[in-house]
Point group: C2
Chain length 615, copies 2
């Protein structure tokens, strides 16, 4: 009976698979091809992989007892449960991976188009007994007449050269990247010259297809980073690769797979052949850039947090399996430090923070899964990193989720009523970062929480909001959406723990900003501009942010959302040789501040975690 | 009965294999792992793949009827016969591939040792919270202190860097090739710095292991080029790759296999680890260099004879599968023209023909499977190529063979007796190039052949050598070794056809020289030195060569054998950066002369084919 096959049926898909007894439910779900989120990497920490199961499973683990309310009948955590008999499984919508909203950049700036890839059409004389020079020499000779001297050609190009030259009757187009002869094509292919810029986030991967000759954006597509199933944040992905023999390879394969799927979508939508895409640029945090290259980032997560690679890398597309033209070129942005990566370099590039000749004081905050802060005072730039992001992206928040359909993004408490704004309209199924900030600021205003973050309503508040103040897992909570109004018939409650998580996150960012100000000896009154980049920065309600004290109180600063500035930086490097060089200068010229090594950090953090306007 | 298995037994090995009826005997022999020569590529042209077979085979083909004497009972050509029943096979020793004699260079010259590969030992401070720079940046920082700025490191090196650095406790040796950081090694590995120089001939592959720091030759090993089983000369190999889908891949795999076997032997004999070999240089004729790189040389054999590649190539060892250190570097010599390759560049380099500041007139002749001629007059150099080689290496000569054990290398006719010198002593089994020249010059002296090459003895000669003058295949012949004194009990006879082949070969070389002299407007009396390179040039009897008119009569020239000058050139490029640059200059600076396009060529050739001293 030991080898008895167990039948697992998935609802509502009606998918059915067979497995052996004692299989992990997580593995069974993966095998069934159902894409489900394991934000903590499947360790029972986050409680996000809820599924409804009928049938025989292992008893509840202590992790499940902590995360599951007794009312959630038949609900289990997929990462904890073990199959012990035929079962029927229904995956909660909250656990499913869905397509992210694409954030475009909101910076209107002029980019000088000077593409790195150039095409030259050549009509060569065919060889004869009087003109027996080698095929490659023939090409070089006529390129030299166009001012292109000693181009470098690799072996793969040399191999195909004699065939292409003869099939093209010696009329061909040379594709050059500066001194490098990338490829040759039959006939005149000028005008078909494309590139893709990638912003590889911990959570989302965004690709933009660009006409290299005109700089025109032809299409943008995004996918969730499929590495997320091995851990929502970079640290849990590093944990995964450390505990799996092929972990690094698996993570690299996943992200390259997503990039190739995006290229395929862009190629179809933009009506561009993949072989006419010759250049791809990549920006990401330092860990993402390491994983993408297949370089082990383990030491980034271990004291004293050292990356392998700071400088930029250039590779041939076929060497990494990126499916643009195999002879095409890949450019990986340089990093600044272990937790300030190429994406921050790209934000600095896109916002002209580095080459600003005015003596203005400017602050840029990019909150993705990680939060990076850059402060510029004229030519001096400092940066820091905080692990603030996860809370804002829904991780560690009991009913948190990303800014996707069904997420509460706006909250208003007025006259005893809770008004919510849900992304995509419809019923709410969780709360995202901007909703969390909104809700907290409202609870603060209504004295339901105090400035220390205690969910301990004032007597007035108790009276006014008695029906909303509730308990969850023995902790106080505030009911945002009643059971009957919620999508999955699970009431949406903001808990004391959620508020603590938010305090940690906003405290980290706020104290990071304060330390950078001290470092450059800048007073709050001197700050001219605050740029909010990334998804979170774009959807946030500035008033709520100020109210809870996410950023210090800057009397004269203009606060601007700049959208996906990292993507814009990647695009700039794609179409402009100068911007590519500028990225290198930024990587070398920005000083990294390790917040934890700052002696006053604990005091500043404690102060910054308090709610209310920060002075 | 169609699928009946046929039993094939090999004697004297007693090997036995099963095959299906109608198998080609050639394929059966290959499958049995018996290495046998098919100089013409298995087309029945050369008659060299003789085997003795008992059992049922297909009837004799017309090719076999031409090549096999009726007295050779049970003898067949392996490339022609088809198996039709159980058989017993004995392969003739003449057909077997054996290990070649290694020719060392005979040039005593000083080589400036300035190796391209340098090792630097570094004891780096380990990272700390105050010193979090990236692993690669740490390495670069301390290399910069040693004057090495911005070294280029490839992804494979970056990938292994964090592990090696930590395992080595940050004490490591950087291996650099100019600006390129090849690899890093744990601890102090200075002093272990080796390279290999390869002369990839059509027939023989020679490898030399060199200590890069001292220039010392540690070991030399050679193997026959295994491509030979697909054709003895370059044209038959091109034929093969054109008629087989995977032909190019097969030829490349074979030659790389031989190179790797030589590296293994050198590593064992020289007591050097393969990972401490960081550089390999390769010289070969243009076709060999193309095949080695996997570049299709077909157009070299088709009008108007154009190579793909003239310039040098640098590759990473692992990219081609050459088993030195995988991060090591490979350097392929530049070529001059379709039939004057990197080996000639290397001969010119080794003999200082190019940078000669004297106004001397010097001639170098390198006869391998192809014959290349270079004429230098001060700074002016011209070169030409002749397909003369095969005859001198035994191909197209009825009982010809390479200069191996059992080959007649010396012949003297005196007082009615034939005295022969056999390589390795013992009984003769064939005749090699130097033996052929010796024999012809003796037959000429004794008036057995006339100056037009007719084997039509004078009446005096008829009387004196009557017992030796014989018939073979209805043609006149001269018996060199009687049946009972020959190794395989096959009499060794020099035929009219053999003499015609020799005339063609020596005529080609002699007329090539004459045309080059005309081209540089040099009189015979002006030639100061003649350098004979390659195997053939080294073993030749200069007097016999003059007597038959292999080279024109140069009144004042010194004739010198320089041995394997091509290998020496490859070694020089290995240990000296300057010599490597010099090779590039030679490739660009030597003019190629296409003999066939010279209007007087037919007349000159006709004249040069005559026997006797050439004026």
């Amino acid at each position: 009976m030991k080898n008895r096959k167990i039948r697992v049926i998935f609802r509502p898909e009606k998918k059915e698979i067979l497995t052996s007894i004692k299989s992990s439910l997580k593995e069974v779900i993966k095998r069934a091809g159902i894409k489900i989120n394991f934000p903590c990497g499947g360790k029972g920490i986050c409680g996000k992989c809820k599924v409804k199961v009928k049938g025989k499973l292992s008893p509840l683990t202590s992790a499940e007892k902590k995360h599951l309310q007794p009312v959630e009948k038949d609900v289990r955590l997929a990462c904890q449960a073990v199959v012990e008999g035929n079962i029927e499984v229904e995956v909660y919508p909250l656990s499913l991976i869905s397509f992210p909203k694409i954030l475009t950049n909101r910076i209107n700036r002029e980019i000088k188009i000077k593409p790195l890839i150039k095409k030259t059409y050549l009509s060569l004389p065919p060889p004869s007994l009087k003109d027996q020079i080698a095929d490659l020499s023939r090409l070089e000779k006529y390129l030299k007449e166009r001012g292109i001297r000693y181009p470098f050609a690799d072996l793969d190009l040399v191999k195909k050269l004699p065939r292409v030259m003869r099939e093209a009757d010696f009329k061909l187009t040379a594709v050059l990247k500066k001194q490098r002869l990338l490829t040759v094509e039959k006939g005149d292919t000028r005008g078909k010259n494309f590139g893709v810029a990638f912003d590889v986030g911990t959570t989302t991967v965004v690709g933009t297809l660009i006409d290299l000759d005109t700089g025109e954006e032809l299409a943008t597509r995004a996918l969730l980073n499929p590495q997320a199933s091995f851990g929502e944040d970079v640290v849990s992905r590093i944990d995964f690769l450390q505990s799996h023999l092929e972990g690094l390879k698996i993570l690299q394969k996943r992200i390259i797979g997503a990039i190739n799927r995006i290229i395929q979508m862009l190629s179809r939508v933009g009506e561009v052949k993949r072989e006419n895409i010759y250049l791809a640029t990549f920006v990401g945090n330092t860990v993402m850039q390491h994983l993408l290259l297949g370089v082990n980032p383990t030491n980034l997560a271990l004291y004293p947090y050292v990356p392998v690679l700071k400088r930029s890398m250039e590779l041939k597309a076929s060497d990494l399996g990126i499916r643009i033209n195999p002879q095409g070129s890949l450019y990986f942005f340089p990093n600044i430090a272990a937790f300030v990566g190429g994406d921050t370099v790209a934000v600095i590039l896109a916002t002209s923070l580095f080459d600003d000749n005015s003596q203005k004081v400017r602050l840029a905050i990019d909150i993705g899964t990680n939060g990076e802060i850059v402060l510029a005072k004229g030519k001096k730039l400092v940066c820091a990193s905080t692990a603030a992001g996860p809370a804002f992206e829904g991780a560690r928040i009991s009913q948190g989720m990303r800014a996707e359909r069904g997420a509460i993004e706006k909250v208003k408490l007025e006259e005893g009523k809770v008004e919510i704004g849900v992304i995509g309209g419809g019923r709410a199924r969780g709360i995202c970062g901007s909703g969390l900030i909104d809700a907290s600021s409202q609870l603060l205003k209504e004295e339901i929480i105090d400035s220390s973050g205690w969910l301990k309503p004032s007597s007035k508040a108790k009276e006014k909001w008695s029906s909303r103040i509730t308990k969850k897992n023995n902790h106080n909570g505030f009911l945002l959406v009643e059971r009957e109004k919620a999508q999955d018939r699970i009431p949406i409650v903001l808990t004391q723990k959620d508020i603590r998580e938010l305090q940690l996150a906003k405290g980290a960012i706020c104290s990071g900003i304060k330390i950078l100000l001290t470092r450059l000896e800048v007073e709050k009154g001197e700050v001219d501009e605050v740029l909010l980049a990334g998804a979170f920065g774009s959807y946030i309600n500035p008033e709520s942010a100020h109210l809870i004290g996410l950023i210090p109180n800057f009397p004269k600063a203009k606060v601007r959302s700049v959208g996906n500035a990292a993507s814009l930086g990647a695009i700039m490097a794609l179409v402009s040789e100068e911007d590519c060089k500028q990225a290198e200068k930024i990587s070398e010229g920005v000083d990294y501040v390790e917040l934890a090594s700052f002696p006053e950090f604990p005091d500043i953090l404690t102060q910054a975690m308090r709610f209310g306007k920060q002075d």
